[in-house]
């Protein structure tokens, strides 16, 4: 018997026995491959150049049977069409022609989606569908990295009304499988999933991964809306699917600046991943620490010492330290120093840390300024509210801005007669050369003049100089965000702290922990995209 006929006879047997796993194992599409597949391809090339001949062969070897007994299966028109495409794929595929292979695999996967959609027999295609989607996704990502081939593809579709990227086309095909699983009626929504419902999060994960890895996670909004509308709870699915889904859902929320939602997803994913999956834990933790910092929770030393935290600890430990102390200079330096690493985790993460952490830095700088300047009033005045003088904050903010522009602390002049051997005239000359700015500042400008800062650097924006109005604006915004507790007495130029008595000290009353304020502000009954049990 010819190899093609033998192959189809075996396939018929798997359909009859409802053996989806063996069916998947036989319907291979990519290397490594046993010799039989190359022989099959050779036979198809030789005897089946005509598509109609393939169709006739399939009709003969895979007849649709009537009166199928309970517990058995048979072919159906969608499957016959899929097998025709499968043989065409093997006849025409050339693994050295990436673009051609991709087009053939796209057509085959589309055909698989149609066969899978059959309400009576489609379920047997679940394993094959998963396998084909994995192959297509892999090939699409490889293709997407080849600018020359993408250009060629764009030229081929130049006349099309709606031009879609390969990522988009593949994501759409994979979502067909997802929708088939989601709308399957073999089990109710809030019950252990059976039938095609088993595949809901498998296909959701494949789609989310493809979109996220290619900077198109915004296209996942419709998929997540569908999950919310119809999907069974995530907790009904195996751990690997749960963790993967929560990781990509978290990435989606990071990309949309919903850091608290994202942190909840990453926290759950992290705690559900056993320690031996260190690489997965490392990736989850990279985003979890960033998102938690953005909601006012800093990583402990114990966390940063974990093995999976080693690649991120240098960056995050310094960022946390800068937040603790309000050291904006250290903050900017850390961001610049680790920019390539942060950028490799996605631009949304870098910009999130760069801009959204600023409020915490301002808060800490205001707190530090208060600690350095506040003198509690004595006697009759002792009942007056504790205050932070805004001019002091203006001084420290200006100091930070100048440091960012390259100003350095002026060298100190040694007291006379103390240090033998040092030329006191030289020291005086150095001090005098510090320029006119040194009369009211400990800083001296850099030799070539202040650095020109790009807009993302600088305390406010680039070289914008800090004014009293800026300081009042910053304090007002911190009060509005509940990072400071008190009010601005504009005419006196102070931030007055409220509730000192209840809290026991002015500093704890004026600067409540930011995590509480952020938690109150971002509290939600559920995280969009995450279906929980009723």
């Amino acid at each position: 018997m010819a190899l093609t006929a033998q192959f189809l006879t075996s396939i018929r047997g798997f359909l009859k026995a409802l053996d989806g796993e063996t069916l998947r194992d036989w319907l291979k599409v990519e290397p490594p491959l046993p010799q039989q597949y190359f022989d099959l391809a050779a036979e198809l090339k030789k005897a089946y150049q005509d598509n109609a001949a393939i169709e006739r062969l399939i009709e003969a070897c895979l007849p649709e049977e009537d009166d199928v007994p309970e517990g058995q299966g048979t072919t159906w028109p969608g499957f016959a069409a899929f097998m025709k495409d499968y043989f065409e794929y093997w006849r025409d595929v050339d693994f050295n022609d990436l673009l051609g292979a991709h087009q053939l695999l796209t057509a085959l996967t589309n055909s698989c989606a149609t066969a899978f959609n059959n309400p009576t027999y489609g379920t047997i295609m679940l394993e094959t569908s998963i396998s084909l989607c994995s192959s297509l996704s892999k090939l699409t990502m490889t293709l997407n990295k080849r600018a020359d081939l993408i250009r060629k593809l764009a030229a081929l579709h130049a006349g099309d009304e709606e031009r879609k990227s390969v990522i988009e086309v593949t994501a759409e095909i994979m979502q067909k499988f997802f929708i088939t699983c989601l709308t399957d009626r073999s089990s109710p929504r809030y019950a252990q999933p059976t039938g095609k419902k088993i595949g809901v999060y498998i296909f959701a994960n494949k789609t989310l991964k493809l979109l996220t890895m290619n900077h198109k996670s915004y296209m996942a909004a419709q998929l997540l809306t569908n999950v919310m509308a119809k999907s069974p709870p995530l907790s009904y699915y195996p751990a690997a699917q749960r963790v993967t889904y929560l990781y990509f859902l978290g990435r989606f929320h990071v990309n949309h600046t919903h850091y608290s939602r994202a942190a909840e997803c990453f926290q759950e994913a992290y705690s559900q991943t056993p320690p031996h999956f260190q690489n997965h834990r490392r990736l989850i933790l990279t985003y979890l620490i960033a998102c938690n910092m953005l909601r006012g929770l800093l990583p402990s030393q114990a966390l940063l010492q974990r093995p999976e935290a080693q690649s991120m600890a240098p960056c995050y430990a310094q960022l946390a330290q800068s937040i603790r102390t309000g050291n904006y200079v250290l903050f900017q330096h850390t961001i610049k120093q680790h920019e390539p690493w942060l950028r490799s985790k996605g631009l949304p993460l870098l910009t999130g840390l760069q801009y959204s952490l600023r409020a915490l830095l301002w808060r800490s700088l205001a707190r530090r300024t208060f600690l350095l300047t506040y003198v509690p009033p004595a006697g009759d005045e002792s009942r007056r509210a504790a205050t932070l003088e805004l001019r002091h904050l203006e001084t420290t903010m200006r100091y930070v801005q100048r440091r960012l522009e390259g100003y350095m602390p002026a060298p100190r002049v040694a007291p006379k007669g103390r240090q033998a051997g040092i030329n006191s005239m030289l020291l005086k000359a150095v001090a005098n050369s510090a320029g006119p700015g040194s009369a009211d500042s400990t800083l001296v400008p850099p030799p070539g003049g202040p650095r020109r800062l790009p807009p993302d650097e600088g305390l406010l924006m680039g070289n914008m100089q800090v004014t009293a109005e800026h300081v009042e604006g910053v304090v007002a915004s911190l009060i509005d965000q509940d990072f400071l507790h008190g009010y601005i007495a504009h005419s006196q130029g102070v931030f007055a702290i409220m509730g000192t008595k209840q809290k026991g000290s002015a500093v704890s009353a004026g600067w409540p922990p930011p995590s509480e304020a952020i938690a109150q502000r971002t509290a939600e009954p559920f995280v969009p995209g995450w279906v929980k049990e009723e």
């Binding site: 705690s271 690489n279 929770l297 603790r324 102390t325 200079v329 250290l330 390539p340 490799s344 350095l372």
Partner: protein, 102 residues
């Protein structure tokens, strides 16, 4: 500046430390080379007991709190004003105030 291996309590100065910079850049580059794809897990499922979520629940009654609680700090404000950055700010404030009184 706080080196990655510095102990808790070490205070970073405002100045970027030059000798350590290149070393840390190498580290960043090494991190960049790691494979960042979230790979499929080699197994489909695992028992909850293998995870930290389970460990956190079992240690709740142990008197030491849950594992998760040790990982995040909610109140992290630093009251120590003897570090270099605070010292520099203090001197600047002093000088600015003195210049205004003149």
């Amino acid at each position: 500046m706080a080196a990655p291996s510095s102990k808790q309590g070490d205070k970073p100065a405002a100045e970027p430390a030059k000798p350590e910079t290149s070393q840390q850049q190498e580290k960043s580059a090494a991190a960049l080379e790691e494979d960042d794809e979230f790979e499929d897990f080699p197994v489909e499922d695992w028992p909850a007991e293998e995870t930290e979520a389970a460990a956190a629940t079992t240690t709740t009654g142990g008197g030491n709190g849950t594992t998760t609680q040790h990982l995040w700090e909610e109140s992290w404000d630093d009251d120590d004003t003897t570090d270099d950055f605070s010292t520099q700010l203090r001197e600047e404030l002093k000088k600015v105030e003195a210049s205004k009184r003149r």
